[in-house]
Amino acid sequence: MNDDFDDLDRALFALPLDEPPSGLRESILRATVYAPLVAPAPFSTIETIGIGIALALATWIAWLCVADHGIIASVDAGALQFVRALADTETFVWLGIGGLVAAWISIAFAQPFQSPFGRRTP
């Protein structure tokens, strides 16, 4: 393919580009970098659903409490039983035994392993 277009190339590259209409640049910048920021949603969809479920549950429980005083009485009785259990000596003994076992396990297994075949050299 013979590419002998030097004169044409010169003329072509000397052509000025078309002038864009005034205001085009401003319009581009307004649509891009200076476009008003849209505030992002404070919660994601999953979070919004979770919050909705939690609020519905809370409303339902509140309604149950208001509509049926028996629930308040049973919750009250449960709380009272829990406090009494904490005040019981037997509970304290078992709590103490549990705590001691936990402490022993922590101390026993938190030590570095000593080889039975000899001492480690530093």
């Binding site: 277009f5 003329a11 072509l12 085009l24 649509a31």
Partner: protein, 191 residues
């Protein structure tokens, strides 16, 4: 011959010291002036390409704006090391094609050879000026040759970049370019 854009430019406004890649990085890190500089650098060239493709000033303005908007939205997809000019020209060219396809002036599958009404020898003579005659001859080229010659005007002898913008094999670009120049020369000789 060096590219008009690589070789700074009678066409492009005041050259900024930063490279295009640096400006993209700065724009991504939230510096608004960085993208503004890119717009300033390429607005005229992109508009020129859109005008040559659309042949309508209003449509060319819309396509230019759309191209920069799309570029801004997908700035993160710009590959470091690539040429920004090729990228923005490609976006602009495809915006033009979409618009033309939407207007059913063309089939969206292929850009056909459109027999544009050439401005005849008298009209060319009336233009007087060589540059205006050349411009009129370019205007009269069929679409595919006009686009290739416009990109050649904008990017210089960077056939690979032109091929990338147009999504065409390099051989096809060279063939189109040869035919375009041949038609231009014939049109100017007729004058």
């Amino acid at each position: 011959m060096a590219s008009l854009l690589a070789d700074p430019p009678a066409h492009v406004s005041a050259p900024a010291p930063e490279s295009d890649g640096d400006l993209v990085t700065a724009a991504l890190s939230g510096v608004p002036d960085a993208f503004g500089t890119l717009v300033e650098r390429y607005e005229r060239a992109v508009y020129h390409l859109c005008l040559r493709t659309m042949r309508d000033r209003e449509e060319a303005s819309d396509c230019t704006q759309e191209a920069f908007f799309k570029a801004f939205r997908s700035l993160r997809t710009f590959k470091p090391g690539a040429k920004f000019s090729t990228w923005i020209f490609s976006i602009a060219y495809h915006a033009c094609c979409d618009r033309l396809a939407g207007a059913k002036r063309y089939s969206s599958a292929e850009m056909p050879d459109r027999a544009d009404p050439a401005p005849g020898p008298e009209a060319l003579l009336e233009l007087g000026d060589e540059a205006r005659a050349l411009r009129a001859a370019i205007e009269a080229l069929p679409e595919k040759y006009r686009t290739v010659i416009t990109l050649y005007h904008l990017q210089g002898k960077q056939y690979e970049e032109i091929a990338r913008v147009l999504d065409l094999p390099m051989g096809t670009v060279k063939t189109h370019l040869f035919r375009a120049k041949d038609l231009l020369r014939k049109a100017l000789v007729t004058e």
